[in-house]
Every structure is written in structure tokens, then in C-alpha cells.
Symmetry: C2
Amino acid sequence: MNVRTQISRPDGTVLKIVSEPTLKRLPLYHRFLKESELAGRETISCTDIALHLDLDPTQVRKDLESVGVVGRPRIGYGLLNVIEELETFLGWNNVHDAFLVGAGSMGSALLGYRKFEQCGLKVVTAFDVKPAIIGTPIHGKQVLPLEKLPNLAQRMHILIGIITVPATEAQAVANLMVEGGIRAIWNFAPIRLHTPEHVIVHNEDLYCSLAALSQKLFTTLQMKHPNPGVDPMAPTIAALPH
Amino acid sequence: MNVRTQISRPDGTVLKIVSEPTLKRLPLYHRFLKESELAGRETISCTDIALHLDLDPTQVRKDLESVGVVGRPRIGYGLLNVIEELETFLGWNNVHDAFLVGAGSMGSALLGYRKFEQCGLKVVTAFDVKPAIIGTPIHGKQVLPLEKLPNLAQRMHILIGIITVPATEAQAVANLMVEGGIRAIWNFAPIRLHTPEHVIVHNEDLYCSLAALSQKLFTTLQMKHPNPGVDPMAPTIAALPH
DNA sequence: TAGATTGTTAATCGATTAACAATC
DNA sequence: TAGATTGTTAATCGATTAACAATC
């Protein structure tokens, strides 16, 4: 294993470091392996995984290696072994509590994602500022007034916060989370947050994502119909549903 | 401009190609520039943008150049000019209709995102299979039975589809979209879709995203507290809200 | 003019892909 | 054994960052 992929600690143990692209592929592997397990398989090869997920087999092999899984030439990887290693590596064996702020439609949707718990994340409480929303549980979860967050986060040792408020409120919410000792913020508001260095922010900016999608579409269409001055995506007069 | 960043077309016009990382930063620039415009500024420098968004100034300059914006040494870029160029480049001047399938909580949330229209995307109709949902408008948008999608998509020349159904249904929905002539799919279901080559799929896999977040947090905590055998994210017995 | 900022080329960095030896 | 598949090193590719000349 390459030196840069790990950090040696004083006590002799080793902390594996994995690049973000790799990290985002690991859950894909886990999902496919779980499916294969259900289908009754006991071993699997990189080629199989790569084919199904439309990836490069070498990439899959490198990813698995960086997690610490070992396979056997000619045979492949032990399905149960890889699944377990992935779950351990991704920290899915221990569920951690999280707070969510902004019980609007996106917030409510996330509160309903039961499968987050299988990925180590349990949203335990929601917060909001609207009196109309506070008090009524959503998907079985309490909605508390926002000002209670810092104190409660500290007392409950909450490390993860989810922000689903409008962009204008997001920075203020982030500040409260930092005050409460939260160390990682999953930010769905379309704005860049300013936080202390020790706090990780992960932006889920749907507008940026949308821009990438529509631009890709536009480019593809342009390449097929190089029609100068005409927007290939321009709506035409369309039949309406009767 | 580098040869690889553009495609020359027979008619002499040129199609600019921009990398995905760059593409995802463009909306960030647009947002900040709009703010600056409101604040009364007329020009802005890369340094300003970079400082505010925590990016490298050279990167910002390169990104803007790849879009085709020109600035003036010593002065910077004309705010209105850059904003307009970005909007043109991102195709935000023409709004395009889209279909959404899966009027559950995530689907409903997306139907409520009014600002998508400012980014060139108008979700015109939703589809679902549940009779209880069909017929009742959500955020003012009709919910039709799924089987009507292919025909309607063709008649209305819909090019963009959004999938917010459970993973088990997603492939079937994608097939219907392809049948209806849809060319770009924004997929929120946690599964890799198989589609013909000419159809673009953009995956918004929150589970993969979550894995990246929690792993980053884990690594950070580990680096600070190299405590062998102890999970730094393990919940402790916590005070409960009274 | 002086100096800040753009435009552009070169260097670095990191991820992906290719090549191939080891091995079951 | 033969051959498929892993493990690992090298080559390629592309994005970021640095350096610096051009210019207002």
C-alpha cells in the first residue's frame, strides 16, 4: 500500500486514507454485493462488479485494495468478507445521531429516509423557527425550536448537522451548529458556508448539479445538430394533454 | 483557447466544452456576482470571487476564460457582462420543460423548488402509480398516471426527466422515459440505471454523498484522537431533552 | 509611470488506465 | 498444467496550481 494512502499513528496502528472519488464508489460496490449475496453468490470478481456498474475493473480492484480487502487470484473476493469490510470501513456498524434544521419539504423528505440508518446516520431531532411547524412530529421525529439546538447538541454529543433551510438562513444555522459542537455539516442550502477549520462542510447544491446536467444535454444535442443560432433545447409548440 | 476545449463545427461556429468540475463552479460564480450586483458593484476581480468562495484565483480566471468572458487588466471583469455570459452559457435564458416521476416526499420537495426555473428548468408535470396520489395537484402541478408518460413526453417534446421513485422502480421508469424520447435523466434513486448511449444520466445518490461526509468526519476525528480500538464517533450516554 | 490584474504557458499533482508479474 | 484473476508498478490523462509576460 502506498505511503500516501495511510497515516501511521504513534501507537503503531494505521489510518487508511481514501480519495473522495473512491469513497463515493464504495457504497455502489456495497449495494451490488448485497444484491449478489441475495442471489446466492459466494465470491465475485472485479470484472463482474465493473461490468455491472460500468466502471474499469482495475479501478474496482484498486478501490477494494485501498479499503484493505484481499482476494484470491482465479477465484475473486469473498462476498461476505468484502461486504463486512466495506461496512466497517464506511462506519456503518455504528449508527450516529444527527440533527436536522429546516423542516420544510426537503427536510421532511430527508427525515423520511429510513435507510440512512443502515448507512450509520440517524436523524434524531429536527429544528425549525416556524411556530406552526414546531411541536408536530414529522416521520416520528420531534420538531424543536431552533434556539434549543446548541445546548442540546452539546449535551447529546451530536457531531453531524443537516441544513435544509433557505439560503438566507443557512449561515446563521451553521453558526448555531458550530456553537453546539457539531463537526460535520451536510448542507442542502444553495450557499457556501463559512465555518471554522475543524468543521467539515459537505455541499449538496442541486443548482450546481442541475447546471452540469443541462449543460451536458445541451452539448450532446449541439454535437448532433450543429445548427447555428438555433437552440436545440428550445421548446416547440407542443400538443397539450386534452 | 486550447483545442480540446472546443469543437469546431462545419458551419464555422464553435462549441465550447468545459470540464464537469468547472461546470459545477459556474453557478457559484453567478450567485456571488448577483449578490455583488445588488450591492451596487460594477466590476469584480478573480481575487474577490476566489476569496469569497474559497477557491484559487487562477482557477476562477481559467473558468471564466473557458466560458468566453474577457476582463481588463487592473480593472477586472464587468459584472453585468459576466452575469449575462454565464446565463447564456448555462442556457438559463431558455426555460425547458421537464417531467418528474415519483410524487413522494423527495419528488414533492423538488416540485416546490421554484428557483429551478431561473436555472432553465421547469417541471411541468408529475407522474406516479399510486391512485391515491394521482389527480391531486402538488405545488400547482398535475399528477398523472405513469403510463401516460411516454406518449405525452413525445407529444410535448420533453427532453429532461427526473426520477424520485424507490430504487426498485427506477429502471422501469427510466425505460418509459427513454421510450418517450427523453434525453437526460436526473436520477435521485440509489441505483445505477442502464440506458442507451444517447441518453445522459446524472446520478444524485445521497447515500454515496453521505458516505463521503461521514468518512471525512471519521478521518478528521481519528487524526486528532489516535485512540486505537475506540470509535471516536461512538455515541456516549447522553443527556436527553427533558 | 507604477502596480494591480488579466491572459497564458509551464509545472505539479492526483486519479484513471494500462501493463504485467504473481498465484491459485 | 493452463488460464483466469489478483496485486502492483508504470504510463497516461486531466485538473489544479504556479509563474510570468502582457496590459490597462
